[in-house]
Amino acid sequence: MIDSKQATEALADIDDTVRRLRQSLIYRFTSTIMLMWGVLVLAGNIAGWLWPRYGLYFWIAVYVLATAGLFAISARNYAQSRIRTFDRRYMLTFLFIISFGIFCCVFGQFSPRQQSTFWPVYIMLFYMIAGAWFGYAFIVIGASIIALTLFGYVYIPGPTFLLWMAVVNGGGLFVGGLWMRRV
């Protein structure tokens, strides 16, 4: 028979294992989503740079594809792990976040350049908030992308800024997703 101290250590071991398992499941699911967003954002920025007149349509397409992608990734994840990751509640949260972002852009009368800066900073803010609960990787990725986005806003002139955002935001999410898989 073991004593109280050893029993406490065993329970602490169990808690630590469960915490690490949950974090790894969250990282695995999120990394797939980040890889998808990375590709879509890269494509959206490059398309906007090539055909600036149709920029709004490209971004609508990006969000529609992303939503479909989220459901597809969630369905695949459920089939593999029996864990629901993207359901109606998440969809509603996603819609609230996007709606408030659109409200800010309209109410603040942001220029296209300001919008290209606002969206990554806004979305990365939620990554950083998620980091407070789910692990430091979210904070590192969010802070890096916000810093590089603001750097580009200040120092990268004209339409080249969209190419900067393709690399920083799209590429950043992609690299972040790959890194998260390894953490």
Partner: protein, 99 residues
Amino acid sequence: MAELDDIIHQPLRLKIMAALNALPQSAGLEFSRLKKLTGATDGNLGAHIETLAKAGYVSVDKAFVGKKPQTTVTATAAGRGAFARHVATLQEIIAGKQG
């Protein structure tokens, strides 16, 4: 008075059961993920999984994903029950009812 489960109480097997028990029923973990999670070597992890499987606490499924072999370990109902009892016993010891 409940007894500690000797099979589960070994530190690595405790971690394996804790991880598998935290998943929904019928969900399993791949060997590679369990290895990462527990920090064990291939041989050590394999041996302890075998011990748990012999006790009927986990089931082991081997399949091919593409061309790669993949081993998935899942806690059985008996394993989940044994783990719950083991945790309850640990809590009793801490509360001073045993030990």
